[in-house]
Each structure stands twice: as structure tokens, then as C-alpha cells.
Subunit: 315 residues, 2 copies
């Protein structure tokens, strides 16, 4: 038997057929129509599913269930998109609507939650019960697995781990609050601080790299500049890692999952990120050496996590 | 049938017989012997249980199970006190030891967790699955109920909700970290800030109240002074409530329990605390009015929460 995972995004809808082991057999995508309502969205998803099934030569009878990941606040119990600002859905009964086209069990959850569930299964370790995945991107996405099941709290509105304040009254966050972890440890924050530091230190190597790129910084440059021995870049990274560790320590002290997987572009740095991060966490974990802390790992699945996790909502 | 709950503390051990509805039939206590080891502690607990059973004229046959709450890090699965600094136990198999005296199911968990479980049952609402209790005392104790069960993470070391940083690099905390919520929103923090403000404003009413009390402030004085119209006291309370709201918003954005119960002396202020607190939370909850936030309530059980929750570990 197979599962279908759908990853609904502001610009595109991706769907994949996933086997019992979490391998994607085949995937495809279509653009998300601007201003589409939930009825149009369900139709669009159905058409995409027809395409992937036909392309993979898999019969609908061999599909056990369909799962969808969607940004925003999702009422998983009732199959509803409560609110998703970048696809303009409010109180949309998406599961019920899709069910009109396909008579299969249909599930839905928040896209970051689905990605977390995907990463949880990718651990391939049945002994782990409690797990957190975070993605350092435009913002910080988070997903929590407790007792091997997704946890997102009352009406699905929890697990917004990027929106824990680590500096009250600090940097403004896209959510309206001030001082959220996301405003310090997302890729966006790293790029912002890189630019600031380069502006202040026009003779630095990082300033030169940005200038050569037409004045645009990205999340990789600061690591390249640090690697080349640039002191300004080193300071930006030191502060970034320190800020990242504050939020991670908050997650450890509150949830204490057995494993935390970190994803997003910055994780391509691997041990260059993990080693200083582990150092920065020292002294911040409640109980210190007397307790066993959460293990910090790099996420395994990358962009496929959302499809695989959504598929496994029905597993 | 009845349950026995034991609340182990640094100064005393309390035990109570609890009925199915969560009423304490009878309770008693003995002092905690200084430097006692786990074998002595188990013996001491057994003697106390004998006393309460005899006093309540309840036969051991009518007891379903025994639960213990203990400060520190508890490995509930293995019935072990991993570490408890104020009663000097490390890797102590307390359940196994007590079992030598009484052949009943015996459970153990962290004392703040037990208090949270007690408050959860005190809600008397079967529809609530996810719940957080916090106690604003010397520190901030926290307990998390997820899916109607205590959640404390990997090896029981999580749910240390007071040790989420709300101001990185801020006030020193007893745990060694800087800027923990506990260092801003515990009763200790309120008293510290009250003293500071009184020292800076010697003509204020709060300064007068402290002086009249031999230079000692307590957690109630600042509320009394505010009630009398003292501006200095009002400012201290405003800042305290703001700090309290930052940590609560972190809990809501991450755990999003259906209900958060707040306990501790400061909660005697009731609506004088709750109303400004609810105002301070506005704008800090992810999703704002589009999602349903956690309900904030005053804890119901007070000091008995620990005994009742411990008793219900076996329920």
C-alpha cells in the first residue's frame, strides 16, 4: 500500500506518492492559483493526484490515505483550514471538499507539523517518543511530536516555536510581537545582521562579498567570509549561534524532546553550525550535566519532509 | 477505593488519603530528616502511611495505589529520583524501596508535575486534554498535561517552564542561566523589584510599608500599596505583570494548552492580577484573534495539589 502526501504552499502545490518506508515513488507540482478558494483548491489537488497516480501507474485502490500539509492554523480534528494568510483560506473545510472527489481517509495538518512528522519517521528509531523539528528559513517553523504523535495544542494553534520571545521588547517580529526567537535566529535575521555588520565595517571581506553581489546578502555569504578569516563575519555568526542557542535551550527546558532536528539552508553548514551551537548551549540546559539533554541533529529530508510527513498523517 | 498521595519536600513529608473524586479524607506530615538517604526516606514514608491509614480507619486493602511527588529530576518510568538537590538523593530507586514495605502499585513524579496533575483533575472537565499549571513562588514551578497525561519529556527532565529565557543575558537565575522567566515573574522577583523601587523612591508609600516591617518586603505589600494609590507600587506591578505575560505567551505559543492555571501567593489577588494580565497578553499570542487562546485561570487546590496529584498518578 501507498500513501499520498500533499504540500500546499503560497506559490505551489506539491504531491507525492510515498511507500510504507517513507520513500517518495513519484512527485509532481502545480502552481497555486492566486485568490483560489477552498473549492477550487480541492479540485486542483484532485487533478494533481490523478496526474501522479497515472504517471506512477499506481491504482487508486493501492492508496491507503491522503494527507495534506497547509500553512497557517489548521483544525486537524475537523479537517479545517482555520486561517492561512498566504493562501487566503478562512474556516475552509478542505478535507470534506476533497472527499467529494476521492473516497479515502483524508487528513490535514499544519505544513511545519507535517515536515516535523516526516523528519520523525526519517529517524528510523522506534525507541524515540518525543521529538522536535525546527526549520530556519524566512521565519522559524516548528513541529512537535509527543508520544509518537504530532502535538499542536488546543485547536491546532500551538507549536509556534519561533514565536517564543527571547528578548522582551526586542526586534520586531512578523507576528506583531517583539523579541521572538524567529526575529533573531531565522535565515532572514542572519541576513539582516550580516548586512548591518557589513555596513558598519565597509572594509571587511563580508562587505566586499555583498558589494560584488550587487548589494544583496544571502544566508551563505557570512559563512564563506568567516571561512576566509573575516572577523566581522565571525562576530555575526557568533551572535547568531548564541541567539539560536537561547531558543533551543527554551525548547529543551520546556519540551525536552529526545532529539531536535534542525533544518533550513543554514544547516548545510553541518558541523560548522552544530559544534559552536552545542558549545553555546552549555550552561543553558536545566539540570546541566545531571540530566541527559536533547540531542541536536541536522534534519535529513530537506524539502521532501512536508510531503512525506503529510503522507504519514494517515499512518 | 482510595489512593494515597505523598508530597516529599525539603522540610517535610506530607501524605494524604484521597478518594476517587479528589477529596482528601485525611492527611498528616512528618519532618524530613536532614541528610536522609533513600532507604531511610522510604521507611519514613511507610511509617507515615501506616499512621494515616490507622487514623482514617481505612484498611490497606482499600488502597488502590500510592503516588509520590518529589522535587528535582524524576525518572517516572523507572521509579527513580535522578537528582533532587534539596533532599540529597541521586539515582535513588525510591519506588522499589517502598515496595519492600507495601505491595501496591507505586508511582513517582516531580512535585510540580504532581501539583499540575492535581489541578488538572480539579478542573472537573473531561473535555480538556491539554493543560499547564504554573506556580509563582520562590521560583516558578511548571507542570504540563498533554492528552490527559503528565508530560515531562526525555527522562523526565522537561516542563521546566520557569527556565525559558525571556531576556537573553538578563537577570541571573538560580539555575545558572541568565534571563529566565523565573528571574522576572516569581514571587522572589516581585519582592526584589519592590525593594529596588522602594529604595529609589524613599518617599513612596511602599517604602514606608517596608520600613514599618523592619526593612523586609513581602509579595503582598506592593499590592496593598497599589490599592492605596501608590504610584511606585503601581509601576512595579505593571512591570511584573508585563514580565509574567511574556512567559505565559511563550507557553501559549508553544504548548497552546486549553487552560493554564496559575498558583502561588500572588494569585490571591484574583482579578486584580488576572485582568491586567489578560490585557498584557494581547498582541503576544500567535494568530491573535483568529485563533482561540488558552484560558488563564487561578489554580484551585493550593497546597493540597501536590498530594492529590501524586495520589492520582495511579488513576
Amino acid at each position: 500500500m501507498y500513501y499520498i502526501g500533499v504540500d500546499i504552499g503560497g506559490t505551489g502545490i506539491k504531491a507525492g506518492i510515498v511507500d510504507e518506508k517513507g520513500n517518495i515513488i513519484l512527485k509532481s507540482s502545480v502552481p497555486t492559483e492566486k485568490g483560489i478558494d477552498y473549492k477550487g483548491l480541492a479540485k486542483s489537488i484532485y487533478n494533481l493526484l490523478q496526474t501522479v497516480l497515472a504517471d506512477a501507474r499506481i491504482a487508486a485502490d493501492d492508496i491507503k490515505s491522503i494527507g495534506m500539509g497547509c500553512p497557517g492554523t489548521i483544525d486537524a480534528k475537523n479537517g479545517m483550514v482555520v486561517y492561512a494568510n498566504n493562501i487566503n483560506l478562512t474556516n475552509a473545510p478542505l478535507c470534506e471538499e476533497l472527499k467529494k472527489y476521492i473516497d479515502k481517509p483524508i487528513y490535514i495538518d499544519n505544513d511545519a507539523n507535517c515536515a516535523a512528522l516526516g523528519e520523525f519517521f526519517a529517524l528510523g528509531d522506534d525507541t524515540v517518543s518525543d521529538f522536535v523539528a525546527i526549520t530556519l528559513g524566512t521565519g522559524i517553523g516548528g513541529g512537535v511530536v509527543i508520544n509518537k504523535k504530532l502535538y499542536s495544542g488546543f485547536k491546532g494553534a500551538g507549536a509556534e516555536l519561533g514565536h517564543m520571545v527571547i528578548e522582551k521588547g526586542g526586534e520586531g517580529c512578523s507576528c506583531g510581537r517583539k523579541g521572538c526567537w524567529e526575529a533573531y535566529a531565522s535565515a532572514t535575521a542572519l541576513i539582516r545582521e550580516t548586512k548591518k555588520a557589513a555596513d558598519k565595517n565597509p572594509a571587511s571581506y563580508i562587505a566586499k562579498l555583498i558589494e560584488e553581489n550587487g548589494g544583496n546578502a544571502n544566508g551563505k555569504m557570512v559563512w564563506d567570509a568567516k571561512e576566509a578569516g573575516d572577523e566581522t563575519a565571525q562576530k555575526v555568526i557568533d551572535q547568531y549561534v548564541e541567539n539560536l542557542s537561547e531558543g533551543l535551550a527554551n525548547i529543551i527546558n520546556s519540551f525536552r524532546p529526545e532529539i531536535i532536528a534542525i533544518g533550513g539552508g543554514v544547516c548545510r553548514q553541518g558541523d560548522n553550525l552544530l559544534n559552536p551551537l552545542k558549545d553555546a548551549l552549555k550552561g543553558k540546559i536545566y539540570g546541566g550535566d545531571l540530566t541527559e539533554s536533547s540531542r541536536i541533529e541536522i534534519a535529513k529530508l530537506g524539502n521532501d519532509a512536508g510531503i512525506i510527513g503529510a503522507a504519514f498523517l494517515g499512518k
